[in-house]
């Protein structure tokens, strides 16, 4: 008899929380809202861990553990059900999402304490958790798509949380619409799947696809599906060319940026690609595209990140480039590496955002790094956690980032899909990453505080205050995680055991167990060394520029001139999109649709018909003589006509 691990509890609990807070929260006290908002997520997190325990002891033939709860759509041969699908991959995702999510919830208690719409915030956050877990646990693409759209909705709501601020509202809209473009591709991919395989159920779909051969000869059906899926993923995970919404999404509260736009939602694309690895691994062309896109995005975003001055913007671009890494991993069929990096990234990037939030909180909402500095002494807790995260993301041994990033780079170099170009770009990106991260680090925490002479927040200096415990504790936990989190993926080359790869092996096939020779090991070690070197180089450069010779950066910027401006202004991509797509759309809808169709045709017909009716009725109203018997006459006539018609029809 199969043990029934009640999976449904994991998504439902946050939904309940969201419902309670959303419907009744307005009347609740601050304390109650806090309680409701966190207890349910905490419960779902705890349950997730319990499920994990059971899952490990689950007999081998029962993995993946699938459970259908109800039939949703039944149209002819096609059927979709509300079902949950638990295998190692989704297990990892569930754990990451619930744990990080729970930590960030706790953090938000402190961060949002003084904001309006407190209950609204927690209700949205819980809602997001529900949709994210649905996405992760779905047992067919349709339910996954619900979660997919749902997290989009939640992110829209949360980005526009301060909806009174116009920039926030428009940022929310931007995120929503840009993601839509990708979702269209996703949808079409789903239609193709339905058309050719008649089902969206993972447990039907993947075996069916595995029977097909590899489309090495030339692009075919699977390639098309893969590319379309990649479009969706690019939209959701902010890859080229659809990354533009993520930086603007920083308008939302910082916990939101941490949870949705760093740790979980934006990685949904990676998860989806990994989930569909069966399709991709049979479509080399698609995989190549994925790898290239990932690679380019990583580099591109990293370069932009170098020149940003807004602390959250920097983190946003670094998120994009890290996501690029993950796609690169998927593109070279190193899915487990991608997921590994996803996990570690969730730790340290979440931490980075939270710490940044703590800094902003300390400075009463100041986000510009040029007006920070010397905060090390004022907010030590934040500083130390931030430090851990910075080292982690820069991939310095033995922090978490090192292992995941290094595994990606190694695979990019070694796997049959990879090539040294990918590796080179990856390495360059790693260097840039560590540079801009340490730039941020130095600018924020070292030197002396530049807030006063800049004249912003005139009472800033005295008011720099460390964040409350409720914010520091999650920081601490995440800091620990971003230090040790990577060790479960300790590569053999360093005499460790790849627990992570082995855990995920059943899902992605056993390429992790590829017999690797000592030569391979030495090569891998060499590459690892190089990447660490690059990271240290970045650290050094940042130290030189922003600690020793603080006049240099402006000189360099002046020297580089237009190049620097281009990078600082994000390559004018937004402006380009505006000119290419947005303006034509606005013009067209203004002149053709609005003035022409709506006002010219639709309204006109409505008005004209109304006036005609008025005239007619004006003529007819004299029938209303008020004489009942004349009415009776009309009725009789009408009856006669009806009867006559019926008789006529009967006769014919």
């Amino acid at each position: 008899m199969r043990p029934h691990l009640h999976l449904w509890l994991i998504p439902i609990l946050p939904l309940v929380g969201a419902a309670i807070n959303g419907l009744l929260g307005r009347r609740f006290s601050h304390r109650v809202v806090t309680l409701v908002g966190n207890v349910f997520v905490g419960a779902s997190c705890a349950w997730a861990w319990r499920v994990f325990a059971q899952f490990l002891s689950l007999p081998h033939e029962m993995v993946p553990y699938v459970h259908d709860y109800a039939t949703w759509i039944r149209a002819g041969s096609f059927a979709a059900s509300y079902g949950l699908y638990l295998d190692q991959l989704s297990m990892v995702m569930v754990l990451v999402v619930t744990s990080v999510g729970f930590l960030i919830h706790i953090y938000s208690i402190g961060y949002m304490a003084h904001e309006g719409g407190y209950y609204r915030f927690f209700s949205y956050l819980n809602l997001f958790m529900f949709f994210m877990l649905t996405l992760v646990l779905a047992n067919n693409y349709l339910v996954m798509f619900i979660g997919w759209e749902g997290v989009g909705l939640a992110s829209y709501l949360l980005i526009g949380f301060f909806f009174l601020r116009d920039s926030a509202a428009s940022a929310g809209k931007k995120a929503f619409i840009v993601t839509r473009i990708g979702d269209l591709g996703f949808l079409i991919a789903l239609f193709l799947l339905i058309k050719h395989f008649g089902s969206l159920d993972f447990s039907h779909l993947f075996p069916a696809i595995s029977k097909l051969g590899i489309e090495s000869a030339g692009p075919g059906l699977l390639t098309a599906i893969g590319l379309l899926l990649m479009t969706g993923a690019a939209g959701k995970s902010a890859q080229l060319p659809l990354y533009v919404w993520l930086p603007d999404a920083m308008e939302g509260p910082t916990p939101v940026s941490a949870l949705i736009h760093a740790a979980t939602m934006v990685t949904a694309g990676v998860y989806m690609v990994a989930r569909s690895h069966v399709i991709f691994s049979r479509a080399p062309a698609a995989m190549l595209v994925v790898a290239i896109i990932g690679c380019l995005t990583a580099l591109f975003a990293a370069t932009i990140g170098m020149a940003q001055t807004d602390i959250k913007k920097v983190l946003a671009y670094s998120t994009i480039s890290q996501l690029g890494y993950m796609f690169l991993a998927c593109g070279v069929a190193a899915y487990s590496a991608g997921i590994f990096h996803l996990m570690t990234h969730a730790f340290f990037k979440g931490l980075l955002f939270l710490a940044a939030g703590s800094v902003i909180h300390a400075l009463d909402g100041e986000q510009d790094m040029r007006r920070m500095g010397g905060l090390r002494k004022h907010i030590p807790g934040t500083f130390w956690t931030m430090t851990a995260a910075t080292f982690a993301i820069s991939g310095i041994f033995p922090f978490a980032g090192f292992f995941s990033k290094d595994e990606i780079l190694w695979n990019a170099f070694s796997s049959e899909h990879g090539s040294w170009i990918f590796w080179a770009v990856g390495l360059l990106t790693a260097f840039l990453t560590s540079f801009y991260m340490f730039r941020l680090w130095f600018l924020t925490f070292f030197g002396e505080f530049r807030g006063i002479e800049a004249g912003v927040s005139e009472h800033g200096y005295g008011h720099i205050h460390e964040s409350p415990k409720v914010m520091l504790i999650p920081l601490a936990i995440l800091a620990v995680l971003s230090v040790v989190g990577g060790w479960i993926g300790w590569p053999e080359s360093l005499g460790g055991v790849q627990h992570f790869d082995q855990f995920l092996a059943p899902v992605f096939g056993g390429h992790a167990e590829a017999a690797v020779t000592a030569a391979e090991h030495s090569k891998e070690l060499l590459l690892a060394g190089i990447s660490v070197l690059a990271a240290l180089l970045g650290l050094l450069l940042a130290w030189v520029l922003y600690q020793r010779r603080q006049d240099l950066p402006d000189k360099i910027a002046a020297a580089l001139g237009w190049l620097y401006n281009t990078v600082r202004d994000k390559y004018y991509v937004d402006e380009g999109y505006a000119a290419a797509f947005v303006q034509p759309l606005i013009k067209g809808s203004t002149y053709i649709l609005w003035r022409g169709v709506d006002a010219g045709a639709i309204d006109a017909t409505a008005n004209e018909s109304a006036e005609g009716a008025e005239h007619v009725s004006d003529a007819l109203r004299h029938m209303q003589s008020g004489n009942v018997r004349s009415y009776a006459g009309w009725v009789a006539a009408g009856a006669a006509v009806v009867i006559a018609y019926m008789v006529y029809m009967g006769v014919r």
């Binding site: 004489n627 018997r629 004349s630 006459g633 009789a636 006539a637 006669a640 009867i643 006559a644 008789v647």
Partner: protein, 183 residues
Amino acid sequence: MLELVLFFVFGTIAVGAAINLLAQRHPINSALSLIVVMASLAALFLLMGAEFLAAIQVIVYAGAIMVLFVFVIMLLNAGEEERTPGSRVAMLLGFPAVVLLAGLVAWTLFARNPHPVPVDLAGRFLGSPAAIAQLLFRDFLLPFEITSILILIAIMGAVVLASPVGTTTGSGSPEQAPARREE
């Protein structure tokens, strides 16, 4: 044979009374002739074996509703109806329509099926109270209840409407009587 004779007797009575209803100028006479129509219809119902309906027809229609009419006529002391210029529409439009109606129906019934099926009297006492009750309280229970509620509302409406402004007592009970009769 006997049925045919009875049919023609009562049918002629009904039609005659109906015509009288129109011809009379005093409402009370019209009311009485309408009662006659109803009585003869009750007889026709009996011919068709709807004995329960026949009784009900007499009790409810003749015994209750028409009593109401007579009451109202008495209370309002309605006299001969005065001659006022009617409406042209009623004359020019209504009458042709009526004629057309009657003509069409007659034509349909005769010209369309020239050999009317004679119905055997096997279903003699088809409408025995028991049978009707079976139908009424089993298949048509919901409509039945709804109509009873309708009646209740009608009673209240009648009381409210008919009672002089301010008071709600007054000419209540006569209006209520026939309505209550159904329950």
